[in-house]
């Protein structure tokens, strides 16, 4: 499967070409190049997937293929960074997801970003991102993954800060990068610890079922925990940073400052699931070596799922609602991994996680693109500026509804199947986690329909706009359906969302690689559907027509409401830590210390020398008599000494 190299090379070339020509070509040319390249990649990825999954299984599992593996940088005899391509079920699945979404976003952006300054730059960055993300998923070793991990972070930074003249976008980009960078530091430390004990970076050695590389670390502990636990916890923190797990989730809502297609691609479908992918990649290590860390993953995931869902219920910016929903859904995947067993049916969680990753990517991208379409029409992110849009934007309305049903977990849409598996895996692990997850799922259904009704139903947008007197910046015109380039991806993704649930996913992807048959647990399934439906009905009652209920509820639970709408003040805590503690209490005194203590000491040496020399210079007064006087005194002194001794 040598051609897979093209999947990596093409977007890189596209990035270089588009980046170098900058604005010398017409925007249209640049957009076409980017999109066509992505089209080719998508085709290649599908072909790869088809070829890979139609291969014969060896001993019941799909083989790991490594068509390329080139030594890039050698550290020691054992440790060297290779660049290569690893094809196994999850990486192939990711290839499909990334290329599909990326392709859709490219098409969508042709129209959405039309006429923006820096259109070529936008496409260049999109190519860079696609390249890095693809490189990340096909990584053959952990260091290659880290390399692309960083590249992904940078492309995310560049794309969030695409509107670089807008201070909030710049701040958001900076925040996103620094928070994930902070997490990456733990990732790196984890890699270092792991490689120190195992003497390898290679995934195929680390995650082999009966690997012996961990023998060297047996019994080695640091501060009471096994060293491998430390390593794997560090690696998980890296993943948690990218995947916005509590408490590192703060960057993701702000990242919505980027263009909406970017949010769909990076901050909903692909980059943010890198953390999940990372944990999945290391799943055997987590499971066999450090089960306690894996359980930690489950608990953090469960908490994040609930936490983000609660916040999502009260946000008013539609992109932020989606952002918190993303956090919550990724947490679902994390939980699924955390609760998963290894073999056979016990590996439900793993399979469910990957399945949910796949379906979520599709419907969440759809939601974001739909939201983009809405924003494009009304030029605002705020719910209060919207309403009754279903009349003007039928395609957007229907596709958005499909996505909402999918995320709420209503059959037969894809979200139902994957989420159901997650719930049943959670119940198997612990009823508490299962309960939390069910509640989070219910909240999901609620806030998604709150969102849906606020946008497409309720008071008519035109009336609202007139009432608010928002006629100034283009609100006066009637919103209209988006052009074809924007509508096509919506329809395509909606189609995928409708059918993806019926993919026999377990046959392709499972923890051991062996075939896995999905069994729908009827109790859990019925219960989750009921819960979701009830939530949807509540949301319908509350938000379909403007009622006073939401305000009343907000008043009743004013503490919770205020906390949630301020995201539980976590941002403030971070601001306090960074601004007050690090900036003002560490960095400033340090800078002061440097200037006034260390530097002053050095200057002090110089000043002392100068002072002494000025004093000595006084002797060289130029006065002959003084010289003579000193001379005479000296002579007398010497004479005296000679005389006395």
């Amino acid at each position: 499967m040598q051609y897979t190299l093209l999947i990596l090379v093409l977007p890189l070339l596209s990035f270089i070409v588009l980046g170098l020509v900058d604005s010398k070509w017409k925007p249209k040319v640049a957009g076409t190049i980017g999109t066509v390249v992505l089209g080719i990649i998508t085709a290649l990825s599908y072909y790869t997937a088809w070829e890979y999954f139609s291969m014969h299984r060896v001993a019941g599992v799909y083989e790991k293929l490594i068509p390329y593996n080139i030594e890039w940088l050698r550290f020691t005899e054992f440790l060297h960074i290779n660049l290569g391509i690893l094809l196994d079920p999850i990486s192939v699945m990711m290839l499909v997801v990334i290329s599909t979404i990326s392709f859709m976003v490219n098409i969508y952006s042709l129209s959405y970003m039309h006429g923006e300054k820096g259109f070529e730059r936008y496409y260049a960055f999109l190519s860079l991102f696609t390249f890095s993300m693809l490189g990340l998923v096909v990584a053959t070793n952990i260091f290659q993954m880290y390399i692309f991990w960083e590249l992904v972070g940078v492309s995310s930074y560049l794309l969030i800060g695409f509107y670089y003249t807008k201070p909030s976008a710049v701040a958001a980009a900076k925040k996103a990068f620094i928070v994930t960078r902070f997490a990456d530091m733990f990732f790196l430390i984890g890699i270092l610890i792991l490689s120190f004990y195992t003497k390898t970076f290679d995934f195929s050695i680390l995650t082999a079922e009966h690997t012996t590389v961990f023998a060297g670390s047996a019994g080695a502990t640091f501060l009471g925990f096994g060293v491998i636990s430390w390593a794997m916890a560090g690696i998980f923190i890296g993943g948690a940073g990218k995947s916005a797990m509590f408490p590192l989730q703060i960057w993701l809502p702000d990242a919505m400052e980027g263009p909406t297609p970017v949010s769909a691609l990076i901050h909903a479908a692909t980059m943010v699931v890198a953390g999940v992918f990372l944990v999945a990649r290391f799943f055997p290590v987590y499971y066999f070596q450090t089960p306690e860390v894996l359980h930690g993953v489950a608990y953090i995931g469960a908490f994040t799922a609930l936490f983000a869902a609660v916040i999502a219920c009260v946000q008013t910016d539609i992109k932020r609602v989606l952002a918190f929903s993303t956090i919550s859904q990724i947490a679902f995947m994390m939980v699924a991994l955390g609760v998963s067993g290894y073999d056979g049916q016990e590996g439900t969680g793993y399979m469910a996680s990957m399945f949910h990753l796949f379906t979520h990517a599709m419907f969440k991208a759809l939601l974001f693109l739909g939201a983009g379409s809405v924003i494009h029409a009304v030029h605002s992110n705020e719910m209060k500026d919207m309403g009754g849009l279903r009349k003007y934007m039928p395609i957007t309305n229907w596709t958005f509804l499909i996505a909402c049903l999918a995320i709420a977990g209503i059959p037969p849409f894809s979200g139902f199947f994957s989420k159901d598996e997650i719930l049943s895996a959670s119940y198997e692990f612990s009823p508490y986690i299962g309960g939390i997850m069910t509640f989070a799922a219910a909240l999901t259904a609620f806030y998604m329909f709150r969102l849906y009704y606020s946008i497409f139903w309720g008071k008519d947008y035109i009336i609202k706009a007139a009432a608010h007197g928002h006629d100034d910046h283009g609100h006066g015109h009637t919103p209209h359906e988006s052009p074809f380039a924007m509508a096509f991806p919506l329809v395509f993704l909606a189609g995928v969302t409708c059918v993806a649930g019926f993919i026999p996913f377990g046959e392709f992807v499972s923890s051991t690689g062996a075939e896995y048959h999905i069994h729908i647990n009827p109790t859990v399934a019925i219960m989750s559907v009921v819960v979701a439906s009830v939530s949807i009905i509540i949301a319908t009652l509350m938000y379909r027509k403007p009622t006073a209920t939401p305000d009343k509820l907000a008043k009743t639970f004013s503490g919770l409401y205020k906390g949630a709408s301020n995201r539980f003040y976590l941002d403030e805590v971070y601001m306090f830590i960074t601004k007050k503690i690090i900036f003002n209490s560490v960095s400033r005194p340090l800078a002061w210390f440097d200037r006034h203590v260390i530097d002053a000491t050095m200057d002090g040496f110089a000043n002392t020398t100068q002072w002494v020399s000025v004093k000595i210079k006084g002797f060289q007064s130029g006065q002959v008599q003084q010289y003579a006087y000193v001379f005479l005194l000296g002579t007398l002194l010497i004479t005296a000494i000679v005389l006395i001794f």
Partner: protein
């Protein structure tokens, strides 16, 4: 009377000459250190040189009679003193032309 007789009889002791030159020398030192006028300093230097001359001659006369080292030394010193005075006075007059003063206190520009 006895003492006076003792002093006045016999030859003059060498220490007497040395004492005289000593007083002259240190009078010169005092002048050199205390006076501000350059001419006064020059006069003091003359005194010191003169004192040295006396010593040369006296040591020659008392310790090495028949030789002429000290004698010549004194002779040449007189010559050199004369040269030095001539040059010094030329300089002083020149300085006086520039600064209208002959005080050494004003002459510390050379240190900078």
């Amino acid at each position: 009377m006895d003492l006076l007789n003792n002093i006045l009889s016999g030859s003059i002791p060498m220490e007497a000459y040395l004492g005289v030159s000593l007083i002259m020398f240190f009078a010169g030192v005092y002048g050199f250190l205390s006076r501000r006028s350059m001419l006064m300093i020059l006069i003091s230097i003359e005194l010191m040189l003169n004192a040295a001359d006396i010593n040369f001659v006296v040591f020659n006369r008392y310790l090495f009679p028949g030789h002429l080292e000290g004698f010549y030394f004194a002779l040449f010193t007189i010559a050199i003193a004369a040269c030095e005075t001539a040059v010094a006075i030329a300089i002083i007059i020149n300085i006086y032309r520039n600064l209208t003063s002959v005080e050494v206190g004003n002459l510390d520009q050379m240190k900078e």
